[in-house]
């Protein structure tokens, strides 16, 4: 029943908020603030990383809704806040 409702629904997909830190900003036009990203029903952290063509070697930490996740298959949904951290060395 639910699936049928979904099928007939022409509403655009919902959006999550993505923030790419430090060196990763270049994969989204140097945006250093969070920005909205449309997501489908079965999106994962890994899907987002692929969509923005971010090399795994440039990622240090991933947070979904403020909690650190190490699993790339963590699902993400509209309304989520996803934060991906790049590489910093301090100074």
């Amino acid at each position: 029943m639910q699936a049928l409702v979904g099928k007939g629904n022409k509403k655009p997909p919902g959006k999550l908020s993505l923030r790419l830190y430090s060196n990763l900003a270049r994969y989204a036009g140097e945006k250093i603030r969070p920005f909205p990203v449309p997501v489908g029903p079965s999106e994962t952290v890994h899907g987002l990383i692929q969509r923005f063509r971010i090399p795994m070697s440039e990622i240090s930490m991933i947070f979904v809704n403020n909690s650190l996740t190490c699993k790339l298959d963590t699902p993400v949904r509209p309304g989520d806040e996803v934060e991906i951290f790049g590489l910093v060395g301090g100074g």
Partner: protein
């Protein structure tokens, strides 16, 4: 003229006004290279043991290097050394910018200053000529005003200056040397030593070009870096946000120093972040001499409370956290103002911020006597008070008189409970990296000869993942296994030793670690090519790392001669206590036994006497510096 270096070292005695020029042979340059090893060489040879750091017997050395100022990126730095008024040991501070290269264009690789002038003076060094000039008209002036006067007096806007502010004249032990107003020789109180010698400034201008043996080779490295700097994630990240990018990163990781290192996260971190600063205050990005990476910037503030002049530079990560979260302050404009005040008045933002945070912590713990507090609201978070205390410290007013002693001496006065809150090593306030979140950095705080310093071996996060570009870049050193950031075990100590030898070379060779591996883009193979191309020497990474190791042993020997022992290689109590607050690292602390074992192992790997923490005769022979044995046996 040789390739790479000028071949001349300037010696100036401010008591007698004698000026002499030494012309060391090639062996001297190849063995010691420059920077830290030059400092240690002259401090060991030309200073008597146990001199008063503020007396005429202290020796003040400025050193570029055999390759400093050559036409390539990241070769702009110079080192300043003396016996430190803050630690009583080997004092050393480095800065980038343009002054180091200009000293070489003016004809000198280094300068050794002794004695004390009767009246305020400055030095004017131009194309091989040296004059000692009267500085009474600029004595007492903030750095910017003094620089304006010097530019007018000399009639050349292209001069490069190193200058002290009122804090150094008033002998605050953590006073800086400002270099063209926005690059600071911040640590160890080198400005204070200038102040004690009545030396207000050193102005350089030169037209000599540095000759390179193989310009094609040098140019090919510089070109490769200029081409790829935006593709390399590390050098690109530095360009985009600079060191302030680390504020939010460390906050999320739970290791952002907050409230005198009590906690590892800060609720106001976003407000003092690099992102916020670049969005709201950026004037323009800029870089140092010949460097394509351009990781520095100017920021300006116009606030109804105050304005900030952009020429004093953008605060780096250290300052944002030192005057910000570590004092519980999330008012960005006030932190930027604090940075400007420190650079104007001549104070080290790390030590200044650390001293204020310490007093705020003591106050909240009820450890400050009423005659210290005097009605001030010393709670964490008071931005207005922070700004007032910076000025009071520089001018020795009110509570500023206490702050001007630094954390170690204030804590001694306040007693054992306060000493537990004193986040310092060998008398130097700790940089804004929690030792509990970075094991090698923390270990470095304990053993480094100049007291707590963070630019020693690279951060643990560079070496924790096998595909991290930082980790990949150090494979030529034989560092082949990634290691956990919190690991202080034997493998981490081996890594620490190797990396501090490489970094030690950087500190001898005017090299900026934001341009070279593991923190940035230039590889070890390119490093060797640059040295070969500039000097013409047939060299190797092995020889260069030995220079770094030599410099560590020489600095260590200086401290041994001054009476330092194993008990000085220690960490503040705070890092052995659990992190408070709510962050990801909550509850974590360094284990004392692990730390002691690491220390013993370090001395073993270094071939040092484990009790005296001192190089052995065999080690000195191996490094070709056995003349030092007479100074320490």
């Amino acid at each position: 003229m040789p390739f790479g270096y000028a071949g001349k070292i300037l010696h100036i005695n401010l008591t007698t006004s004698d000026i002499t020029i030494e012309e060391p042979d090639e062996m001297f340059y190849r063995r010691y290279f420059g920077g830290r090893a030059f400092l240690a060489y002259y401090l060991l040879r030309e200073m008597k043991p146990h001199e008063d750091p503020l007396g005429p017997g202290n020796v003040l050395v400025f050193a570029s290097s055999a390759i400093g100022g050559a036409p390539s990126h990241g070769l702009c730095r110079f080192s300043v050394g003396a016996k430190s008024p803050l630690t009583g040991g080997f004092g050393e501070s480095e800065a980038g910018g343009f002054w180091g290269p200009e000293l070489k264009f003016a004809g000198f690789d280094a300068m050794v200053i002794k004695g004390k002038s009767e009246n305020p003076v400055y030095l004017w060094i131009h194309d091989g000529d040296v004059e000692i000039r009267d500085a009474s008209s600029i004595w007492g002036m903030p750095t910017g005003e003094a620089q304006d006067v010097l530019m007018r007096e000399i009639g050349d806007r292209k001069i490069r200056t190193v200058l002290i502010g009122p804090a150094a004249e008033n002998l605050v032990p953590y006073s800086i040397i400002a270099n063209d107003l926005s690059h600071m020789s911040g640590r160890n109180g080198m400005g204070t030593v200038m102040g004690s010698k009545n030396l207000k400034a050193i102005v350089c201008r030169g037209t000599h070009k540095i000759k390179t043996k193989d310009q094609k080779l040098v140019g090919s490295v510089a070109k490769r870096v200029a081409r790829d700097r935006k593709d390399n994630p590390l050098s690109y990240g530095l360009h985009l946000l600079g060191t302030p990018a680390a504020v939010l990163h460390f906050n999320h990781a739970g290791a952002l120093p907050s409230k005198n290192f009590r906690e590892g996260t800060f609720e106001g971190a976003e407000n003092i972040s690099g992102e916020r600063m670049m969005e709201t205050l950026l004037e323009r990005r800029e870089g140092c001499y010949a460097c394509s990476i351009q990781c520095r910037a100017r920021v300006g503030v116009e606030d109804n409370r105050f304005t900030v002049e952009p020429r004093y530079g953008r605060p780096e990560y250290e300052t944002l956290v030192g005057l910000g979260s570590n004092c519980g302050i999330d008012d960005l404009n006030a932190v930027v103002k604090g940075n400007e005040l420190c650079n104007k008045l001549g104070l080290d933002t790390i030590s200044m911020g650390g001293s204020i945070a310490f007093l705020m912590d003591c106050h909240e713990q009820g450890l400050l006597p009423e005659d210290w507090v005097n009605g001030l609201d010393l709670r964490f978070g008071n931005a207005e008070l922070m700004l007032q205390l910076i000025e009071d410290t520089a001018y020795g007013r009110g509570l500023g008189k206490k702050l001007a002693k630094g954390v170690r001496d204030m804590a001694r006065e306040l007693g054992p409970e306060a000493e537990k809150l004193a986040v310092q090593v060998k008398g130097q306030e700790v940089p804004l990296h929690d030792a509990r979140g970075k094991a090698a950095v923390g270990f470095g705080y304990a053993v480094v000869e100049k007291g707590a310093d963070h630019l020693v071996s690279g951060f643990d996060i560079l070496y924790e993942k096998s595909d991290h570009p930082g980790f990949v870049s150090v494979a030529p050193l034989g560092l082949l296994e990634p290691l956990d950031v919190l690991d202080m075990g034997p493998k981490k100590i081996r890594l620490f030793v190797y990396m501090s030898c490489l970094w030690g070379f950087y500190n001898c060779a005017s090299i900026c670690n934001f341009a070279f591996v593991p923190r940035s883009i230039t590889t070890t193979a390119e490093l060797v090519d640059l040295v070969k191309g500039i000097t013409g020497w047939e060299t190797s990474l092995w020889e260069l790392m030995k220079v770094g190791e030599r410099s560590i042993n020489m600095a260590r020997a200086f401290n041994v001669r001054e009476g330092f022992t194993r008990k000085d290689d220690t960490l503040p109590d705070r890092f052995f206590q659990p992190l408070e607050g709510e962050g990801a690292m909550k509850g974590y602390h360094i284990d004392r036994k692990t730390f002691e074992e690491a220390l013993g192992l370090y001395y073993g790997i270094m071939n040092w006497d484990p009790e005296k923490a001192c190089p052995t005769y065999a080690k000195l022979v191996e490094l070709d510096i056995d003349w030092i044995w007479d100074h320490i046996k």
